[in-house]
C-alpha cells in the first residue's frame, strides 16, 4: 500500500493534462488498470471477510476463524478451492452463452471503478459525464445475468434472472433520481468535480437522497433483504444455479465487486470521497467504502427477505414518489441559492427527510390489495 500511495503522489502533475479520454497516455491507462484490478480483488477478499465474520458476530456465532490469524485467509482458501473444482456445463445448455455470461457480468463492474477518484485527478478517466457513465455501464451487467439464466436451460435459473431484471428495471428509477439531486447541488456530472464540490459532505444536504440511493442500490445489486432473485428456499441459487468452478467464482466475485462499487459510489457522492483530515486521500476513500459496506452487512443481518410483490411495491409506491419529491425540493433550493447552499439548510433537509419518511411509512402498507407479480 505504501508503493500505491507513492505512485499516486507521482501522478499528481497529470492534473494539468486534458481530461478527455483517450488522451494517448498509455502508461497512465496501464498503471490505473493494473491498480484497479488489484484494488477490486483485494477489496473483495476483505469484503468477504467482513461479511462472514461480521455477520457471525451479529448472529451470536464465531464465523470462520481457523484459516490463518483471525480467519483472515479463509477467503483466499475458498478462492483456491473453487478454482480447482470441476467445471460442469449442463448437457442442454446453450454452451457459448453459458460460457460468455460470467465475463459479460464482470466487465461492467470493473469499468465502474474507472471513474472513481482516489485523489484529486487520480482516476483512470475523468469523464465529464462520470455518473451517467456509471449508470449506463452498470445496466450492461443485467444482460450478463440474463445470459446466465437463459444459457443454463434450467427453470430456476430463468426465474431468478427474470426476477432480477424486474427488480433492476424498477429500482433504476429511484436510484437515478436520487443521483440527480447530488448532481444539481454539485453542478457537475464528473465524480472528480462532485468530490471537489463537497466542502460539506452531501449526505447532510441530501439525507433523503442518501437513504433512497442506499436502498435502491442494495436492491440493484441483489443484496439482502432484496436478494430474492437468488432466494435459496425458492430458487436454489437463482441465475447461477448451474455454474460451478471458475465460472461460479466469477459470479461470486461480481456479487462482491458490485457491493464494493456501490459503496465506492455512495462514498464518493454522499460522504465526500477521498476528502478528510490527516490520513492520505486513498486511505480515506477505502475507510469510507468499508464503512458503507459494513452498513450493508448490518442491514442484511437485520432485515428479513421481502416477497416479490413487496419488492415491486417498495420501489414504485415508496422510493419513487419520495425520489421525485426529493428532486423537486433540491431543485428549488438550488434555484434559490445558486452560489452554494447555506449551512442552515442541513437542519431543514434532515427535518424534511424525517417528516417524509415517517409520513410515507404511515401511509404505505405492504401486502394491501391484489398480489401482483
Amino acid at each position: 500500500m505504501v508503493t500505491l500511495n507513492y505512485s499516486i503522489e507521482g501522478l499528481l502533475p497529470m492534473k494539468g493534462l486534458p481530461p478527455d479520454w483517450p488522451g494517448g497516455y498509455w502508461w497512465h491507462w496501464l498503471f490505473f488498470t493494473v491498480v484497479l484490478i488489484a484494488f477490486v480483488l483485494v477489496m473483495v477478499l476483505g469484503a468477504i471477510y467482513i461479511e462472514r465474520r461480521g455477520m457471525g458476530r451479529m448472529q451470536s456465532r464465531l464465523g470462520p476463524n481457523r484459516t490463518g490469524p483471525f480467519g483472515l485467509l479463509q477467503a483466499v482458501a475458498d478462492a483456491v478451492k473453487v478454482l480447482l473444482k470441476e467445471n460442469i456445463v449442463p448437457a442442454k445448455a446453450d454452451k457459448i452463452v453459458h460460457w460468455l455470461a460470467p465475463i459479460i457480468a464482470f466487465a461492467p463492474v470493473m469499468m465502474i471503478f474507472a471513474v472513481v477518484p482516489f485523489q484529486d485527478g487520480a482516476l483512470l478517466a475523468d469523464l465529464n459525464i462520470g455518473i451517467l457513465y456509471i449508470v449506463a455501464v452498470s445496466s450492461i451487467a443485467t444482460v450478463g445475468v440474463f445470459m446466465a439464466g437463459w444459457g443454463s436451460s434450467n427453470k430456476y435459473s430463468l426465474l431468478g434472472a427474470m426476477r432480477n431484471v424486474a427488480a433492476v428495471v424498477s429500482y433504476e428509477i429511484p436510484l437515478v433520481l436520487s443521483v440527480i439531486g447530488v448532481v444539481l447541488v454539485a453542478g457537475s456530472l464528473s465524480l472528480n468535480d462532485i468530490v471537489l464540490a463537497q466542502d460539506i459532505p452531501f449526505i447532510l444536504f441530501q439525507p433523503l437522497g442518501f437513504l433512497l440511493f442506499f436502498a435502491a442500490g442494495c436492491a440493484e445489486i441483489n443484496r439482502a433483504p432484496f436478494d430474492l432473485m437468488e432466494a435459496d428456499s425458492e430458487l436454489v441459487a437463482g441465475f447461477h444455479t448451474e455454474y460451478s468452478g471458475m465460472k461460479f467464482a466469477m459470479f461470486y466475485l461480481v456479487e462482491y465487486a458490485e457491493a464494493i462499487a456501490i459503496s465506492a459510489i455512495i462514498a464518493t457522492l454522499f460522504l465526500g470521497g477521498w476528502r478528510g483530515p490527516l490520513l492520505p486521500p486513498w486511505l480515506w476513500l477505502i475507510v469510507k467504502i468499508v464503512i458503507v459496506f459494513f452498513v450493508m452487512v448490518w442491514t442484511r443481518a437485520t432485515l428479513p427477505r421481502v416477497r416479490i410483490d413487496q419488492l415491486m411495491a417498495l420501489a414504485w409506491k415508496f422510493l419513487f414518489p419520495l425520489a421525485l419529491i426529493n428532486l423537486f425540493i433540491t431543485a428549488v433550493q438550488v434555484l434559490v441559492w445558486p452560489d452554494g447552499l447555506p449551512w442552515a439548510l442541513i437542519f431543514l433537509n434532515i427535518a424534511v427527510m424525517l417528516v417524509l419518511v415517517i409520513l410515507w411509512s404511515k401511509l404505505f402498507r405492504l401486502g394491501w390489495g391484489r398480489l401482483e407479480v
Binding site: D94, V97, L132, V135, A136, S139, I140, V143, W150, M162
Partner: protein
C-alpha cells in the same frame, strides 16, 4: 490514425453483428448480437466526440430496449429450435434489398456538408442549453413524453383483464 482504426473495427463489428441478428436461427442469440451492435454504435459516437450521446445510447438501447426484447423472448416457447419458417422469406428479402439499395445510393450521391469547426467538448452543456434555454426544444420533448405516456396507458387498458 487511432480514430480511423477504431472506426473500422467498430464498423466491422456493427455489420457482422447486424448480419448475425438477421441470420441466426436462435432468436435469443440474435438478440445478443443486437446488443453487441448497439454497443459498437455507442463506440462510434465516442469517436465522433459525442460522449453524452454514447452514454445515453448504452443506457437506453442496451439497458432498456434490449432487456425488454430479451424478456419478451424468454416468455416465448421453443426458442432454440429457431423461428418458425413462413412463405414471406422472399418478399422480405426483396424489400430489405430495395431499402439497402436506396440508402447506399442516397449516402454515396448526396453532397454532405462537413462543418470545419472543431467538435464541442464537453457536449453536455451545449445540449442542455439547446434543450432548456429560450427558444429551446423543451416543448416538443415534453409533448413526445406525454404522447408516449398516453400510448403506454392505452396499451395497459387494452391488455388488462376484465
Amino acid at each position: 490514425m487511432g480514430l480511423a482504426a477504431a472506426f473500422w473495427i467498430m464498423a466491422v463489428v456493427i455489420v457482422a453483428a447486424a448480419l448475425g441478428v438477421v441470420f441466426l436461427r436462435n432468436v435469443f442469440r440474435a438478440a445478443l448480437t443486437l446488443v453487441l451492435c448497439f454497443v459498437a454504435v455507442a463506440g462510434l459516437y465516442i469517436t465522433l466526440s459525442a460522449d453524452f450521446l454514447a452514454a445515453v445510447q448504452i443506457l437506453v438501447y442496451v439497458g432498456a430496449i434490449s432487456v425488454l426484447i430479451i424478456l419478451a423472448i424468454m416468455m416465448t416457447r421453443e426458442v432454440p429450435q429457431g423461428s418458425p419458417a413462413n412463405r414471406l422469406k422472399l418478399p422480405a428479402f426483396i424489400v430489405a434489398a430495395v431499402v439497402l439499395g436506396i440508402m447506399i445510393y442516397t449516402v454515396t450521391k448526396t453532397a454532405w456538408q462537413v462543418s470545419a469547426e472543431a467538435p464541442l467538448t464537453p457536449t453536455t452543456v451545449p445540449l442542455a442549453t439547446k434543450l432548456f434555454s429560450e427558444g429551446g426544444f423543451v416543448l416538443p420533448v415534453e409533448i413526445a413524453a406525454v404522447l408516449l405516456l398516453a400510448a403506454i396507458l392505452g396499451a395497459i387498458v387494452i391488455a388488462r383483464e376484465k
